[in-house]
Structure formats: C-alpha cells, structure tokens
Symmetry: C2
Subunit: 258 residues, 2 copies
Amino acid sequence: MIKNPLILVTNDDGIDAPGLKALTEVMNEIGEVVVVAPDRPQSGMGHAITINSPLYLREIKNNNFTYKTYTTSGTPADCIKIGVNEILKVKPDLCVSGINHGANSSVNVVYSGTMSAAIEAGIHGIPSIGFSLLDHKWNADFSHIKEYIKIITLKTLNNGLPKKVVLNVNFPNVIKKEIKGIKICRQANTYWIEKFDKRKNPLGKNYYWLTGEFINNDKRIDTDEWALSNNYISIVPTQFDLTSEIGLTKLNNWDFEK
Amino acid sequence: MIKNPLILVTNDDGIDAPGLKALTEVMNEIGEVVVVAPDRPQSGMGHAITINSPLYLREIKNNNFTYKTYTTSGTPADCIKIGVNEILKVKPDLCVSGINHGANSSVNVVYSGTMSAAIEAGIHGIPSIGFSLLDHKWNADFSHIKEYIKIITLKTLNNGLPKKVVLNVNFPNVIKKEIKGIKICRQANTYWIEKFDKRKNPLGKNYYWLTGEFINNDKRIDTDEWALSNNYISIVPTQFDLTSEIGLTKLNNWDFEK
C-alpha cells in the first residue's frame, strides 16, 4: 500500500453532517486527509455541476483538526472538481464520499450526490468509494460501521480498482452483531412510484412535493437490495461507461435505410 | 407501430429553447404530444431531483398549439416524474428529450440533464431517446436533422428497445449533405481537465467559474466521439444498471477476512 495516502473526502449531506465526521475519522487513521464538502445538504443532486453561476470556496480553520477542511457553494461533483484542481493540485490516492445518511442502493445510485462525487473522482482516474448507511436520521449511529469502512478502504488501496469502476457501499440499518458480512452485489432492478402531494402556498398558488413509494420486484439474490435486507453490507462495483452491450447487438440489426 | 402514440417531450435548455420547438414539431407528425419542460435552462443538472423544495407546475395556453404544454420549476428528471404521474396519469408510449443545444456524447452523458430525463423515463419503463446537436448556439439550425430524428423515433416505436436501455443520439455540427449516416456506438472514454477561473466579486470575495478542456484519448473507432468527428450521427444504447461485470469478477476474489 502507498505510505500515508492522500485522501479526498466529500459527501452530499453537507459539511456539518455527522456521517462526514465519522468517515473523516476513519480516513484520518489511514492517510493524509483533505475534506471538501458542500456548505449545505445536496441530497438528490445527482451528477449536477455548477456551470451557470460562480462557485464559492472557503477554508474552515479549526485548531482541533489535523486535516484541512473546505466548503464550497457547489454540488458534490463540484467539490471533487475544485478539490482536485484548485485545492490539492495533484490527484489524490483515494476519494471517499459519505457516509450518506440514507440508502444509495439499487436505482438510487443515479439520484445520489454521494455516488456522483465518487463517480466524478472515478472519471478523474482516482480510486473512489461512496459509503451510505440505511438510516436517514441526522443522529444515526455510525460508530459500529467504521471498522468495516476501514477494511474496505484498505483493501481498495492495496488491491486497486478496475479501470473506470468505483464502489457503491451500503450498510444495513442494524446493530453490529447483526451484520452478517460483506457481499459483492449487482445493482437491483428497482424504481419509485412517485406521488405528488399537492398543496397551496400562502398566496393561493398550487405547488407539489415529490414523495414516492420504492418498488423492488427484483427476485435475484445477488443484488444489493437482497444483501441489505438480509443484513449484509453490499458493495456494487459501479461503472460510468453506460454503453449497453445488449443494446449494441440489437441496434446493429436495425436498418435505418428502410 | 402503435397508432397515434402518446409522446412526452422534455429538455434541459428550458421551455423557450428552439431545440425543444424543433423536436416537438417532429413528434407532432408522429403522435399525440405533451410537452413538460423546465421553466429555465437546466444544463449540467445531471440526474438532480427536487426533494427539499416545492415544485411549481404551470400550463402554457397557446391557441396555436395542437398539443398541451407545461413548465415546471424543477429539473429535467422532475419534468418526467410530474409529467407521467400528475399530468398524463398514464405511461406514455415514448419519451423524447432535447434537442439539446450542445453535445451529450461520451462522458458528458453523466452531467446531462437531457439524458437524465431520458434515463428517468427509462427507469419508468418508457422507451426513450435523448437528442443533442453539437452546436451550443441558441440559434443553432435544427432543420436538417429533423428527418433523422423522425427516422430514429419511428424505428424505436416499431422495434422497441431492450429493457433498461435508452438511446443517446448526437448529431455532428455539419450541413445536411455532409452527414454520412447513422452509427451505433460505444460511449467514448473521455474526461475533462477542469480549469477554475478565479475572480473577485464587487465585495472583494473570491469566486470561481468552472471551465474545462475536453480530453479524448480514446483511439477506438466504434465510439460516439469517433463517429461524430467523422460526420456520422451517433447512437449509444445507454443503460442505467451501472453494475460492472469486470468489477464483480475482480471483487469476488477479494478476501475481506484477511
């Protein structure tokens, strides 16, 4: 393993999130840590980047920190871009994102700011991992998953990751002794049925809140949803080359001339 | 083909974009059109969804339109969610997104609001296509690509798409007679080197504008970037199951106990 690896840490719940603190504490045991996180929660931001407005960047000085900490006015993906290019000015040895307060398993990976940060780092050729705990609460208990985060991180630093692959790690919301172990998984085939809660604002104008029901009809037992509902930690090796091999085969048989 | 298919049209450049108008005109020749588009440009929004603030929805009444048109205060992905669940209340037969003013080829697919709308529709099980022209200008000429959009759309309606696959279609920025045809492609392996333009605001506070240089070191000739730079229209069959098969094989050999 690289001695004292340089580790860029970010998240999508914002700089004040307890999940970020827990993740930073683990990374601090492994290498040299620099935190660059959004200045406010950015859940559901997907892979948004800030191109039509300016980005603000601020260093947070705290004598109790052994690592440098910055916040930006941008999205998780922005944090990686500005972190690598403007703050570090070198590629870090690893990027970690999270610990997200809530699941980023199955289809939720596409909406996830946490995973978009990890993917953005992957695009830059940096080994990277997104960590999420299936507990939305702000005061969720991350203490018992820290040792697993350390194990997965050290394995990643030692073994490296395949090119253009990042890791999507989710933890079941159970106490330590109920965790059965780690499973390498496929992304489950799931979706949301949206419900829009229609309300009137004080001026009488209609507005909608997005809510939804999560639907998992995937019966396979090698998926992240299966692992999590059976108290395993799920790791989905996640790629950002979205080319569909089946799609290539099918579409090459289409005749556009006719 | 389904008779008079119901077609949901959206984009990420916003309701006023000429690219949306061009796409709507083509779809109007094919089936029953409903437009649900963001009320302002949403480029670079990736797969962001609005979960922490309310969504506004407004019907635009215009007697010259033969189709219904709505705008939302949300992202392209929001437009699909509210379009399907609150406006149509049935699954449309097709969703199209665009025509984007600018490329969504190669790695840009992950930042693209246009493609996120198409992917969101795909998650809902709706055949869907994102269209983009490699011309950022607001007054880009879309007239000569309309016939190709019609051909690709009709093929999609006739043949259907593989499950969990949507199409990412990009048009080269050349005049009609220089277009060499349509190629089914892989997503090229590219990235951006970011540059942050550092400035001071009127109050003396530093801010940054994200700019970047596009890097394509992919030498393969079956990619979208190759096709586009050789004046072909590129179609990448695009999936939202991000599981990496190579990643599964490699990680299954990791021993987390040691």
